[in-house]
């Protein structure tokens, strides 16, 4: 296995690769000789690079082997592996590494720009399929290539010329990067450049901008020449004379060759002339004290009277002003300038200067719009009269260009407001319910409502919010003016809009259609309103309640907390409950996407109680199927029992789970059935037969696209109501959003391919704000996402929220656990005194390790690990070269072998997605190494690691890095002893206790690293507990404050050693059977 890297250097993309095998072989670099750089110790040959690139879809045609000296981080006497290689090898790379930079020589494959740009695009498009063979910097190069393409598409490209020492002249196409918007984009991209991209040994001061600019320049020039050749542009100058300076210049631009023929060697006039010309682009008035400001004034409304029309009767006025460049700016109008310049008041001298400036600025503007020359014929121009067509040209075409050139333009407010454009509005009216209002809760026959109910609709052509009759519309069309007056307001009317509008109206007189269709139309998710902008919708009746302009959760009447709920719901949780019940009433699916820690679970539990409370006497509410990942199955069961003990809960899991009729009988008795994603697929046949009152998905991001067998079985379930719970920001992850919406409201977002074309691509690729807005409008009624930082939520939240994560053991863990317990019990019987105590203690350590991760127990990672369970800090073992952890060979992630790891990774994914930061405490250094490797590999983020062996200086550095708001490592793994005291880590708002300490005070002290002065957010504490094990047993004792617990807390593990064999068996042995899915 190898990892492909890319550097740009002087017009070529240098590909090179690190080899995992060579790294493992532990080869070291040969010491550098006086005149040669050291060679990198574990890179592959250019031939292997070529083969690797090709497997990743990167074309290497025309590439040649080369060498590139790079300055790379070295760890000791060999280069440190890249993040990607470390991740692939499962290295943890502790914080104690002392990295330094050293130059080394890398064999590369140099890809010429004509191949590099398409190659990056191909790679970009295919990304995600085999991401793991590419270094992280490839993402950066893909983004840079996209910027180059964007500049070409936006025509931000200029021809240039340059001359070298020998007098040879060359022409080049270059990106024009100096305009504010482009410069901002380029600067943002530059700030994201991975340092390795500028770590070229002979480059001056690692100048990232030089590298990026050269890359963009090469992309643009190569692409442009390709187009010139494809379209035979050189024919345009074929029989022209090179003596014409334009022709000579174009010779170097319109073909592959860039040479510019010159009559006189050393003649610099072309270079100077072009420089002067391009200098015009830079002349945006920045150096001047004042610049031109143009103000477009519509004809005074009073002139028109009450009537519309007469568009061409009165002139528009373009008034001239000067505006100061400094902030805050002040404006002088041209009239004042001329008055002062003619000596009537004010300082004459300053005014003359202003007059001169005004004329200069007008001359500059007239180069862009020759119409302004008309004004220059006057001696003291103050403005310009325009007819309506000219005013329109100014608004649409001229203004953006003038503004780019640094001329400020003021235009009437109504311009650029969407409300002045012609478009279609959809009117929807939901049919009322037989005079009865809503059917009662729990009526199994309902379902006529929901998205598939039929609504009345009508299209109306409107100008913003003003509807127009067909006649009025046709009258507009006859006028042929792009700006018309309507109800006393000026309005932009595009010819093409008028035509499509009329055609559309005639084809769509109105009628009935399904609500889902109507909503899709109104939000531009369907094709029908071809070419006509859709301005929105108006709803009446019940439809307005759900799809009105504000989110339903904000105007709902809050329902009361169910009487049987064992606890108390916070106000925002009641709001969530009300919203869920509200959508349920209309048979509409819902996605509750609150931040992790806000209590999605109890909101759903309360809903189950609420609907039973409201059901008519004697009527049984149908069962809810709750589908969740294995790792939280136990938690759900526990929470249901705790908050709603009256509900009949069936956990559909294990080898003895019922099937067929037996299952039907169980379902009939249950209020809730809990099962896992995997089992829904496996027991598809039985589960499909049930008419579920509701199907609810927890961790709904599990239903993936492209659909798996699992996803398909879940969608096939019959349910009156569907709810998805997820903690990830679904609205920003469009494929996930589609999958979840497809579950909650099938068909609503259309087929995946169409959704991609219509929304995902424009939004993700082109950052299309309008499309994003439409999509938000479309899904918003179905999604409720509250953040911990929302004002309404934050006041409800206590500063510290603690939760216990009870997770099952995997099969591997359970069998190891059983084995250790059995062995120990067998031996303990025959032992006494010190030996017996030793046996018990060592078994205890093993059990805790097994609960953490089998690899922890089996010592698979070779980081020096000294077992330490008690107050003793792990002693410093000899620091060896870290060797990789054995990764599962079946392609499963490393975390899959441990229940706690699975759950931890799930939760961290949400933490990272929400932009939060987390601390993870463990007692074991080796577990820490495992966690770091696991997080890097599975979440692709870097984590920091602090343990007893971390020197003080390094500790400070780690803390500073974690606390830095711009920092890139959102997760901090700490050993409990080393990191549990003293540090200030308030950047974290999640604290995980991966393994348990017997003493809550010690845990609390660790929690206080984040929960302390300076912490402004709620801190969520998550305690990981392996269900059925001694961890859970002891946790219970501590929670229940038993007498035994006080002993435990005082004496560490000593008390265990004093127990009888029977007591030991009772407390240690695994209570639940192997919980892994079979």
């Amino acid at each position: 296995m190898s990892v492909l890297h890319a550097n740009w250097h002087r017009g070529a993309l240098h590909l090179w690769a690190e080899s995992a095998d060579a790294y493992r072989a532990g080869k070291r670099v040969a010491p550098a000789s006086a005149d040669q750089l050291v060679e990198h110790a574990f890179v592959t040959s250019p031939d292997e690079v070529r083969a690797l690139a090709q497997t990743m879809g990167i074309d290497t045609a025309g590439a040649r082997p080369a060498r590139l000296p790079l300055v790379l981080p070295f760890d000791g006497d060999r280069p440190a592996p890249s993040d990607r290689l470390a991740s692939e090898l499962g290295l943890s790379l502790g914080a104690e590494r002392d990295l330094r930079l050293e130059a080394c020589d890398i064999p590369t494959l140099a890809v010429p720009p004509e191949t590099a740009l398409p190659a990056l695009f191909a790679f970009d498009a295919a990304r995600g399929e085999d991401d793991h063979a590419g270094g992280h910097e490839l993402r950066f190069w893909c983004a840079a290539a996209r910027l180059a393409l964007e500049l070409l598409e936006d025509q931000r490209v200029v021809p240039t010329v340059q001359q070298d020492r020998s007098g040879r002249m060359e022409a080049r196409w270059r990106p024009w990067l100096s305009d504010a918007h482009t410069a901002e984009r380029a600067a943002t991209l530059l700030a994201a450049m991975p340092p390795m991209c500028r770590a070229i040994a002979d480059a001056t001061e690692a100048d990232g901008w030089a590298v990026l600019e050269d890359f963009l320049g090469a992309c643009v020039d190569t692409f442009a020449r390709d187009v010139m050749v494809q379209e035979s542009y050189k024919e345009a100058i074929e029989d022209r004379d090179d003596a014409d300076v334009h022709v000579a210049w174009l010779r170097g631009l319109l073909d592959r060759a860039s040479d510019v023929p010159q009559a006189n060697a050393g003649d610099v006039s072309l270079v100077r002339g072009v420089r002067q010309w391009l200098g015009m682009l830079e002349d945006i008035g920045e150096g001047r004290a004042m610049r031109l400001m143009l103000e477009l004034l519509e004809p005074p409304p009073a002139l028109f009277g009450e009537r519309d029309g007469d568009e061409d009767k009165h002139p528009w006025r373009l008034a001239f002003h000067l505006v100061t460049t400094e902030e805050p700016s002040s404006v002088i109008d041209a009239e004042t300038i001329w008055k002062q310049a003619s000596g009537k008041g004010g300082s004459k001298k300053g005014a003359e200067k202003n007059a001169e400036l005004l004329l200069g600025e007008l001359a500059r503007a007239s180069r862009i719009w020759t119409k302004i020359e008309d004004a220059l014929e006057e001696t003291a121009p103050t403005g310009l009269d325009l007819d309506t067509a000219e005013a329109y040209a100014f608004l649409r075409e001229i203004r953006p260009i003038l503004e780019e050139s640094g001329v400020q333009c003021l235009v009437p407010d109504w311009w650029s407001q969407a409300s002045t454009r012609v478009g279609a509005r959809l009117f929807i009216e939901g049919e009322s319910m037989d005079g009865e209002g809503m059917p009662p809760m729990g009526d199994a026959r309902r379902g006529g409502l929901g998205l598939h109910s039929v609504v009345n609709y009508a299209w109306q052509i409107a100008l913003g919010d003003q509807p127009l009759s067909i006649e009025a519309f046709e009258a507009l069309a006859r006028k042929g003016s792009p700006l018309v007056r309507l109800n006393g307001r000026w309005v932009e009317v595009r010819r093409e809009d008028l035509e499509t509008g009329l055609k559309f109206l005639k084809q769509h007189p109105g009628g009935k259609m399904s609500l889902i269709e109507a909503l899709r139309l109104a939000h531009g998710a369907a094709e029908d309103a071809k070419g006509l902008p859709i301005l929105g919708m108006d709803a009446k009746g019940w439809v307005a309640e759900v799809f009105g302009p504000t989110h339903a959760s904000e105007r709902l009447e809050m329902i009361e907390q169910p009487k049987r709920f064992q606890g108390s719901l916070r106000p925002y949780q009641l709001a969530g409950l009300s919203w869920l019940a509200f959508l349920d009433r209309y048979g509409l699916g819902a996605c509750l996407a609150d931040d992790m820690g806000l209590g999605k679970t109890i909101q759903l539990i309360a809903l189950l109680q609420h609907e039973r409370e409201k059901a008519p006497e004697g009527e049984k509410v149908g069962p809810t199927l709750l589908v969740c990942p294995m790792s939280v199955l136990g938690n759900w069961h526990r929470e249901l029992t705790r908050f709603a003990p009256e509900l009949n809960v069936h956990v559909h899991h294990g080898l003895d789970r019922p099937h067929g009729d037996k299952l039907m009988a169980t379902v009939a008795k249950s209020d809730v059935m809990i099962t896992t994603y995997a089992l829904v697929a496996r027991d598809k046949e039985s589960l499909e037969k049930v008419d579920w009152r509701r199907v609810a998905l927890d961790e709904a991001q599990h239903i993936k696209n492209p659909p798996t067998k699992q996803t398909a079985s879940i969608r096939a379930l019959k349910a009156g109501h569907r709810i998805a719970l997820t903690g990830t920001p679904v609205e920003n992850r469009l494929t996930e959003l589609w999958s979840i919406m497809e579950f909650c409201t099938p068909g609503y977002l259309g087929p995946m391919a169409e959704f991609r074309r219509r929304f995902a691509v424009p939004i993700e690729r082109h950052r299309d704000k309008e499309r994003a807005e439409r999509l938000r409008g479309l899904v918003r009624p179905f999604i409720l996402r509250r953040l911990k930082t929302d004002a309404k939520v934050i006041s409800d939240l206590p500063p510290l929220v603690e939760s216990h994560q009870h997770v099952p053991l995997t099969g591997e863990q359970a069998s190891l656990y059983d084995k250790v317990v059995d062995e120990m019990l067998a031996k303990v019987d025959r032992a006494e005194g010190l030996r017996r105590r030793g046996l018990v203690l060592s078994a205890l350590v093993k059990l805790k390790q097994i609960c953490n991760h089998p690899a922890h127990y089996l010592r698979e990672a070779a980081s020096p690990e000294v077992v330490a369970v008690d107050a003793t800090e792990p002693s410093e073992g000899a620091e060896g070269v870290e060797t990789p952890i054995e990764l599962p060979t079946d392609g499963r992630p490393l975390s899959a072998r441990s229940g706690k790891s699975i759950r931890l990774i799930q939760m961290l994914e949400e933490v990272v997605a929400a932009g939060d930061r987390a601390l993870i405490f463990t007692q074991y250094r080796q577990m820490g190494h495992l966690l770091v490797a696991m997080i890097r590999r599975e979440l692709d983020v870097e984590s920091l690691f602090l343990h007893g062996g971390t020197p003080q200086a390094k500790r400070d550095q780690l803390v500073a890095r974690f606390q830095d708001p711009e920092g890139t490592a959102p997760i901090f793994v700490l050993s409990l002893k080393a990191g549990g005291v003293g540090l200030n880590l308030t950047a974290a708002n999640h604290v995980f206790h991966y393994d348990r300490w017997w003493n809550p005070a010690v845990e609390n002290q660790a929690t206080d690293r984040a929960f302390r002065i300076g912490q402004l957010r709620t801190v969520n504490v998550h305690k990981m507990i392996s269900a059925g094990t001694l961890e859970e047993r002891i946790d219970q004792m501590i929670e229940q404050k038993t007498e035994l617990a006080t002993q435990i807390i005082g004496a560490g593990e000593q008390w265990l050693t004093e127990m009888s064999t029977g007591q030991l068996r009772d407390i240690l042995s695994l209570r639940t059977a192997a919980l892994e899915e079979v």
Binding site: E153, P195, A199, V247
Partner: protein
Amino acid sequence: MSANPAQGQPRKPDSPRRVRHGIKFRRKEGLQGLPWFAKAFVDAIESRAALGARVMGMEYALSGQAASFSLDTGIVDALVQGRAPRPYVVKLSLPHLSKEQWVDVVQVMAHEALFAAKLLVGEMPEGIEEPFAACGVNLLPKTPSELTVECNCGEKLPCKHAVAVGYLLAERLEVDPLALFALRGLPGTTLLERLQEARTVQTTGVSQSHQSPQLPSQKAQLPPLEACLDDFWRPGRKLADFERLPAQAHVPHALLRRLGASPLGGKFPLVGLLASVHDSLRSKAIELRERVEGHDA
């Protein structure tokens, strides 16, 4: 005033006709203390002129008999009013260097910053002759006879008119040393431009028609590599910002419209061609993007 029938010409007056606003030699020290390169011209003329011509020439120069004096065309062109009704046409010139010779000279000059630096502030560098000599040519007259002297007065050359113009030339060169190069065929300002151009080429290897774009400075500051060891391989958080930055509405041909007509003086309709190039680039770029996205979807 009467005609001289013997000579068939009007008799000349005893003293020259006065010239209103004539160009006067104003140095108080006379010819003392002229800079060496100006004195070279005085010497070249005086060495060939009769004493009378020199005396009268100075007289003419001091009293402002020159009605005009120009160096614009690469030679000294002057009108000097004598006793005749019409002023005499006087020309002083040196052979011009060829274009190629100038290229060579500029290249040699560009090697030493001193030349450009001195000339920029309007001073004549001491060793100015060296680069010329290195190319086998001269800046100052090599021999007195290299300076061609013409006057239509009919007297022996250099006549007093020519001598007067020589003095004016010397004074002009003292004030404006760059004018000297014009006599060899390259206006001083052009020389300076070329020299600076050549120096850019020599220091950076290339002379460009465009400046390197400058980024907003605070954003362009990247930390030194030494400070990046922990985050050496990954794109920074800003990549997400980059991907989220809203796109700008496309303004067709914005740059070309801002550029306006080409000032280069070519006849081929350059801007029109560039506009159609831009259209091709845009449509091909859209095509490529859609191909990539099609692959994507």
